[in-house]
Symmetry: C2
Subunit: 199 residues, 2 copies
């Protein structure tokens, strides 16, 4: 998969110069590039037939596997991060006990992206994270995958709100990702039975 846009909604105190961040961001870039479809093919081909015909659940698996291999804590994160009682982030990287980078792959509903960001803001405010990265599909991907999934277009109007939260030291980065190519010969990504799916 490829990265088509990177936006730093909050950036204070030169986080991007730290060695922790450099390693963490390298891992994140590599993990996004590792995402392929069909799994194992080495490139992300998306079948453009139909409207919203591809599911989203299996997409992130190669990324989380790579992060796990690189020493990130995946799923089952500590429910307390510097006093922030929150549900899990998708992955967490920490070199010390003090500095953490949070990673969220957002293919839930767009409204869920608001919660994910509010959660990372909470941890940034309390010092539980020094950086939070949210990955969402690009505008071009929207029509091919499950309807109403998180996307960068609908988040744009809110960048201003999040930029008004005073974080002394922290980075909030939003990354838009996209298929490498469209290809009618690959299988559609399967959908689950959750949400309002017919069962």
């Amino acid at each position: 998969m490829k990265i088509v846009e990177v936006v730093d909604v909050i950036e204070s105190s030169d986080i991007t110069g730290s060695s922790l961040w450099k390693r963490g961001w390298k891992d994140i870039e590599d993990s996004i590039h590792a995402i392929d479809w069909p799994h194992g093919s080495g490139t992300f081909s998306l079948n453009p037939e139909g409207k919203h015909a591809n599911g989203v659940k299996p997409i992130k698996e190669p990324a989380l596997n790579l992060l796990k291999d690189r020493g990130w804590k995946v799923e089952s994160l500590p429910s307390e991060l510097s006093g922030v009682k929150m549900g899990n982030l998708d992955a967490l990287y920490s070199s010390s006990e003090i500095e953490n980078i949070g990673f969220e792959w957002e293919t839930g509903n767009i409204s869920s992206s608001h919660r994910a960001i509010n959660k990372m803001l909470h941890a940034l405010l309390k010092g539980g994270l020094i950086a939070g990265v949210l990955v969402v599909p690009s505008q071009a991907m929207r029509r091919y995958i499950t309807d109403r999934v998180g996307n960068i277009t609908e988040l744009r109007e809110y960048f201003y709100v999040w930029s008004q939260v005073s974080i002394r030291k922290g980075l909030l980065r939003i990354v838009a990702v996209e298929y490498d190519q469209l290809d009618r010969s690959v299988p559609l990504i399967p959908k689950g039975t959750d949400g309002r799916a017919r069962r």
Copy 2:
């Protein structure tokens, strides 16, 4: 319906003393008290059979009708509110061209409540609103209505984040509401076919 909790997450510059607010809040209280089930019965009785067996869509209708009667603009709000490009709020009250009170009845998914609040924060920051009110079901109601609907319990952890947004002049109020009584003899509130419902 009854109000069981009122939380002012942001309150700056004594909005609650203004006459616009006093009239607007009176309307909101009256509109919540006007919500009944079955519609026309004058009191909100909820059938407690089953898990998450009641739908939520018809609940807010009596409230919005009352607000409309009191001169609030309901639905189809201007898509631009002091430069804030946003989707509609459920209702808007304005005595002048300048001062507006926004009203959101939240029975979408809990994550949608995060978007609703982020949206009202945006308008508060830009001066499009002087007050925003979000109404959500109480903890006690959760088990009887559609699963994962917005509720005050899951929002509590985020009050801190929203309180950190510097609003010069504005109020952000969250209101928890609840049935007047449980009653196995009333009909279940019908559900729509959206979401992951079987059709």
